[in-house]
Every structure is written in C-alpha cells, then in structure tokens.
C-alpha cells in the first residue's frame, strides 16, 4: 500500500509538469488580476486551452491513440489532473464530452462517427452536451418522452424537451436519448442520437437556479430533422448506450477526490478567521465531523483508482462519494453561516453561492434516494421494490399515470 508513483508514473508526471511549465503562460486567467470577464471570451480562451492540452497529451489521456488520446490508464489521467491543479491553470472546458460522451461514442459509435466527431471534441473545437434528462424523466431516466419518428427516407424527426443541460448554450453537438418505439416497455424502444445544436428546431434556454445564475439549460426540440447516420449504438439500444455514459460518469465522480471545490481546508479557513468560533466546542465538533467525511472521499478516490488500475469497473457505490461531498458541504455551509451570521448570505460572500447551489445539486445526477436504492440493490443485494412499470408498454404506462393523478 502506498501513494507513491511507480517509476513510469514518475516519468509521466515529470513530462506533464515540464509541459505545463512551458505552456502555462498560454492558459486563460479566470480569477485574480487580469482575469477575463466576458463570458464569450472565457469560453473561446478555454476552448483554445483545451486544444493545447490535448496536443500536449494532457487531455483524453485514457482515449485510444487512434482518436488522439494517449492510450494510458486512469492513474495517468489523475496524474495529469493533479499537475494541472498544481500549476494553477484551468483544466479542459468540455469535461462532459471528453470524460463521458466521447468514451460512449468510442464504445458504441460507427467508424464514421468516431472519425468525424472525436477529434474536434477532444481539441475543444466542438463542445458537447448531454441531452438525457427531461422534466418528467429525472431520476427515472428511462421515462424519456422526447419522440423520434423515422421517415420513409430513413431520416428522423425529433420533438420534445430536455432539461438540466450543462454547456448547451455553447455546445456544437448533443448526445440525445429519445423514444423511438412507445409501444415497447419503457427501457426498450429508446435510441441514442447525435444532434447538431444549430439544427433548425433546436432552442436553448438558460434555466435560472436558486442562486439566480443559469447553471443549466432547457433544450427544446421542435421537429428537428436528423439523418440516418445520427443514431449511436443502433435503434432500440438507447438504454444500453446510456448506461455506458452513466458508467463513465461514475468513474469521473469516483476520481473526483474531495471534488467540486468543497475541500476541508477551505471550510476550516471560513471558520479560523473567527477567533471565538475557532475555540467554540460546538463549532469544532461539527467542523471535525464534516471534514473527517470529506477527507475520506479523497482516499475513496484513491481506492477507486487502485481498482481501475486493476481493470475493475467502479460500481454504483462510487456515487456514495457524491452523497458525502454534497451533504458535507451543505453542513459546512450551514456551520459557516452560523458562525459568520447573515453576512455569509450576502451576494458578495463566497459562501452564499455554495449555500444556494447545493440543494439543487442534491437532486442532480439522479436523486440521492434513487442512488441509495440502486446501491442497496446492486451492492448490498437487497431485494428491489415492487416495480409497477415492468413490461408494460410505455404508452400505456403514461395513460395510467395520468389517470392516477
């Protein structure tokens, strides 16, 4: 058991560090003096920087070489991330595309799709977004209603609404889950598509959150035309293709370390400034409980990495790290605001945004409750809840729900 690099990893780390040393002046400045302010400029600069990272071999580390990646393992990916963080420069802009959607296309896409899309994705020339969730299909993802109908020429027409879409406002493409056969039970009859975000009929609208910021978007599809080649993984196989994406999402979360910027020292700093609070037994007890759990997540990430190195795929329990992070950060926000008082809730406070943002995050990526169901069943082997929607055609299911309401 050790946390040290192997000799090969030492070399890899040195290379990454050297490259960053040479190139970090080209990185966009996002905070502090000289920071870019204009949103469009920031995006443009981050796209260019992603391209540079890809050229330097610091993006798509685990992608096969034939698609522009390094063909290396997850540990090398983490080493690059650590070195990027150490250099104090931004990482890639399109973490969703490179981390989850690209690997899905690599796994299920046609040769044409791979050669057309992967290169521009990796280099930040074309940003991607994930069009899975819908207003009535959040945690129950297989309930998507966006309808794709095939014409006689083999092409498709899509109509529906997606929601909680990150990066949609500047994405070139989206990977979209749609229902192609409503007469099948809900997990069948789904198909995955590649959608150009500038196609006629696609409308993107920012979705404001509690904080007042539009962290996510709604995406409306009004009779959007796609050709036959837009299908990823075959017609009717959309659920299996989506599961691949979700598996890569878990890997991303599992390796997230203390992740999301909610780290222990930052919270401690929020409290250490108040000499009275620093010595208050109640504040200390709460802080100690919270940061102990957040520290654990870092080492859970290392355990996940060890498993990945051994070729094991992380199971749904990787999602527990997210539960720990989100709930820990929520408690930390509460504690800090109790210490600082209402000023912690001021718009200018570094804490107000976090306090506003987290309650929504608890619901993002599958609610905590559904995650606990999945883990209880798949990891602990507990029996499932009775499922009333099994084997029933989706169309029939919807009318039943309507009647029950």
């Amino acid at each position: 058991m050790d946390l040290d690099d192997t000799p090969e990893q030492v070399t890899h780390r040195a290379q990454a560090r050297a490259w960053l040393e040479q190139n970090k002046d080209q990185a966009p400045v996002l905070s502090g003096p000289g920071a870019l302010q204009d949103e469009d400029e920031i995006i443009a600069a981050r796209r260019a920087w992603q391209g540079r990272l890809a050229e330097g071999g610091l993006a798509g580390v685990t992608w096969p070489k034939e698609y522009g990646g390094q063909g290396l393992g997850p540990i090398e990916q983490v080493i690059c991330s650590q070195e990027i963080a150490r250099a104090g420069v931004p990482g890639i802009l399109d973490a969703i595309g490179v981390g989850m959607l690209g690997p899905t296309i690599i796994a299920h896409g046609t040769d044409e799709q791979k050669s057309r899309y992967l290169g521009p994705m990796l280099h930040g020339d074309e940003v991607w977004c994930q069009l899975f969730s819908e207003p009535a299909a959040g945690s129950d993802l297989a309930a998507v209603q966006t309808r794709a109908r095939q014409g006689e020429d083999g092409g498709w027409r899509l109509t529906g609404q997606k929601v909680w879409t990150t990066n949609a406002q500047f994405a070139a493409y989206g990977l979209l889950l749609a229902r192609t056969d409503p007469d099948q039970p809900k997990h069948k009859g789904l198909t995955m598509f590649i959608v150009p975000m500038d196609a006629p009929g696609v409308t993107v609208r920012g979705l404001r959150q509690i904080s007042g910021e539009a962290e996510f978007n709604e995406v409306f599809l009004d009779d959007v035309e796609l050709d036959e080649g837009a299908v990823v993984g075959g017609v009717g196989n959309g659920w299996g293709t989506a599961l691949t994406t979700l598996m890569f999402e878990r890997v991303t979360i599992g390796l997230g370390g203390e992740g999301l910027g909610y780290n222990s020292v930052r919270f401690a700093r929020g409290i250490a400034a108040d000499e009275h609070a620093r010595r208050d037994p109640e504040v200390r007890k709460q802080l100690g409980d919270i940061v102990s759990e957040l520290l654990a997540v870092r080492f859970t990430g290392y355990r996940t990495l060890t498993a990945l190195q051994r070729g094991q795929i992380p199971g749904p329990e990787a999602g527990l790290a997210k539960v720990t992070i989100v709930n820990g950060a929520i408690k930390a926000g509460d504690l800090i605001a109790d210490v600082l008082g209402p000023d912690a809730l001021d718009q200018g406070s570094e804490w107000a945004y976090m306090i506003s943002f987290l309650p929504g995050l608890k619901s993002a990526g599958g609610t905590e409750e559904i995650l606990r169901n999945t883990i209880g069943e798949r990891v602990l082997g507990l029996p499932p809840e009775p499922r009333l929607d099994k084997g029933i055609p989706f169309s029939e299911l919807r009318s039943k729900e309507g009647a029950a309401t």
């Binding site: 309930a143 007042g212 209402p342 809730l345 309650p359 609610t367 929607d389």
Partner: protein, 380 residues
C-alpha cells in the same frame, strides 16, 4: 384545560389569511430578489386597517388589548405567504413601551400605526453570561449593548454603540430596546430621525426581510421606566413571534410538498408512495406539530405563567427554526430539480429559512437559552 382557538382568534386568523391572499407576496419576493425592490408591496396600510399595529397595546391607549398568542396567529399568516409586514420589529417594541408610563402618550400613534416602531434586539443575561448583548454584525461573539451616561431629569440621555440586523428598522419612526445606562440595563426609545442615529438598510438573501444596522453616535434617547422583566420579555416575545412566523412557512412548505408528491410520478408510481418521500414529509409534520404545540405554550405562558415564558418562547423558536430549515430543504428535494429553480417558490422558503435562523440571536441561541433555563431549574 382548553388548547383551542377562541372564535375571535379563529376570526383574526381567517381575516389575516384573507387579507394577505389578496397580495401576490411570493411573486413580489421573487421580483424584489431580482433587484426590483419596489416590487415589495407596502403592507403597513393593510396592517393598520386590520388593527395589527395595536395588537399588544391596551384599549385605553387605542390598541386591541390582545395577547402574544393573537399576535403569533397574525405572524403565522405572514409566514405562510412570506408577507413582508413589519410586525416582528413593531410588536416587541410596543410591548416595552406599553410597560413604560413615561411614554404612554406615544402609544395611540403606535396603536393606530400612524407611527411605526422597531425593536432593537437586546438579549438578556443567561445562566452563564451575565451581560446584556446585541446581535453582532459578524462572527460568533455577541456585541455589548450601546451605552450612555446618567440621564437628565427628563430621562434624556446620549447613546453610542450599535445594534446589527435590526428587523424592520428601515422606515421605522421609533427604535426601542435596551442600553446600558450608567452601568445598568434600561429600556430606551430613540427617534430614528434624531441626530447621531444611522439606520443603514442591509439586505441579506431574502428580500422580504427588511433589516438594518443601527449605529448611534451620541444619539438622543429617552430612558424608559419599563421594568427589567419587560425588557427581557420583549426579547422572548420576539422569539415567539419569529417562531410563529416560521411555523406558518412550514405549513405552506408541507402543503405544497404533499400536493406535488401526490401528483408527480416516477418509476410508474406517485413519488409520495415511496417511503423516502413519505417519511420525510411525516418528519416535517412531526416537527410542525411540535412547533405548534410550543406556540400554544408560549402564547399561554406570557400571562399564564410568566416565569416559564423564556423557556416556552425559546423552545418554540428552537423547534420552529429547525422545522423551517428541514421543511424548506425537504420542499426542494421532494420537488427534484424543479424545486431548485428560480421560478419555483421553494427557493423563497429556503432563503427565508436560511436567513431567519440567523436573526434575533439565532435558532441555536434559543436552544442555548432553553438549556440554560432547564439547567437552572435542575440545579434549584
């Protein structure tokens, strides 16, 4: 033994609900948050029409001569719809003034609402801290009260010091609280427009809560002849009122969450049929019912057992504060992603919960006092 509302109380509550239902308070709260502070309707005329400003002033001075519980019923209705009626500041102030014969002439104007007062939160000593303190502008350590030297024959004095996060202070005519005069705590009233008085409005997170930092620099004040029990009582009354307001908000949060849990389906079932949702909502109900019971306790104790009023009011605040916190979070999580969007009402209740748990000594300050009261009883 009768813990039910009288017909008059039922009427008072229904009237308040009816009156407030005619104002789009939630929409206004959202617009105000978005920068349009003129969006918040001025509800003081409404309050005057309903007779709320004089609730705690006796009939001889133009008030309704009602008691804390009646005031709590009105605050509860305000809390239900996040209505911005400046009673949390006004009512405890009138409770002190009503006990100070020296300023009895001023009461009718306050009772009618022609003049509006705001209470300067002044926390009485606890079993382990012998000081009177004010809420601090920042940090965990409580602030000393403003001080003044020996008053003149008319009870006039110059005060210096500050009170932070004073509810409803912006626009108030008179500020009423406790100061340390010649080394002893005493009630004081300060005219907001007097020299040396600075009322700096501050907005934090929930636009419906009108707050100000009040700073005094040799500001003219009148020392009140209200007994010290009355000064302490105003603090506890403020705890009971904010508790009632919070419990009102919990009621709405629960109702909206239950309604959504019946409608929204996932995996082929209404989400309210799942234990995770059902048990959370039952927990909101449990906390709500506990809070309501303690509102009865506080409402009864203020006159029925004054010695227990600190315990009653602060336990109500403690339970109600935590109930609102839990109810607002549950409201968001039951609604899923939609509950965290700007257009939804859940975030408004969440903002209210976040802010109000940190006002007037904080929910945790109320718990601390409950412990102190019990520990003192236990030691006796």
């Amino acid at each position: 033994m009768n813990l039910a509302l009288s017909d008059e109380q039922e009427f008072l509550r229904e009237a308040a609900r009816g009156t407030l239902s005619r104002v789009k308070t939630l929409e206004a709260a959202r617009e105000a948050l978005d920068g349009d502070s003129s969006a918040l309707p001025d509800l003081w005329p409404t309050a005057r029409e309903a007779g709320w400003p004089g609730l705690l002033i006796d009939e001889a001075h133009g008030g309704a001569g009602l008691d804390a519980f009646d005031a709590m019923l009105v605050l509860g209705e305000c809390g239900r719809v996040l209505a911005s009626v400046p009673l949390l500041g006004h009512l405890p102030a009138t409770a002190i003034l009503a006990d100070a014969p020296r300023v009895a002439d001023y009461l009718p104007a306050l009772a009618s609402g022609e003049r509006r007062a705001a209470y300067l939160p002044s926390q009485p000593p606890t079993d382990v801290d012998q000081r009177w303190t004010a809420d601090p502008a920042s940090g965990l350590e409580r602030s000393p009260l403003p001080t003044g030297a020996r008053p003149d024959a008319n009870g006039e004095v110059k005060l210096s010091g500050s009170y932070a996060f004073v509810p409803d202070a912006p626009g108030a005519d008179a500020l009423v609280g406790v100061a340390v005069i010649d080394g002893e705590p005493a009630g004081v009233v300060i005219m907001a427009d007097a020299d040396g008085v600075q009322v700096e409005p501050v907005r934090r997170y929930d636009a419906t809560c009108s707050l100000a930092h009040v700073t005094l620099k040799d500001a003219a004040a009148t020392v009140l002849d209200a007994p010290v029990e009355s000064l302490a009582g105003a603090w506890h009354l403020a705890q009971a009122l904010i508790a009632a307001q919070s419990i009102g908000s919990v009621e709405t949060a629960l109702e909206m969450s239950v309604a959504y849990a019946k409608e929204r389906h996932t995996f082929g079932r209404p989400i309210g049929s799942y234990q995770a949702v059902k048990h959370s909502l039952t927990e909101v109900l449990r906390q709500l019912e506990n809070g309501k019971s303690l509102l009865y306790y506080a409402g009864w104790a203020r006159n029925g057992a004054p010695g227990e009023f600190p315990l009653a009011a602060n336990s109500a605040r403690s339970v109600a504060g935590r109930a609102l916190d839990y109810a607002a979070r549950t409201m968001i999580s039951v609604h899923g992603g939609i509950g965290a969007t700007w257009e939804h009402d859940a975030p408004l209740y969440f903002r209210r919960a976040q802010l109000s748990r940190r006002l007037l000594g904080g929910t945790s300050g109320a718990s601390d006092r409950v412990a102190g009261e019990l520990l003192a009883q236990a030691a006796a």
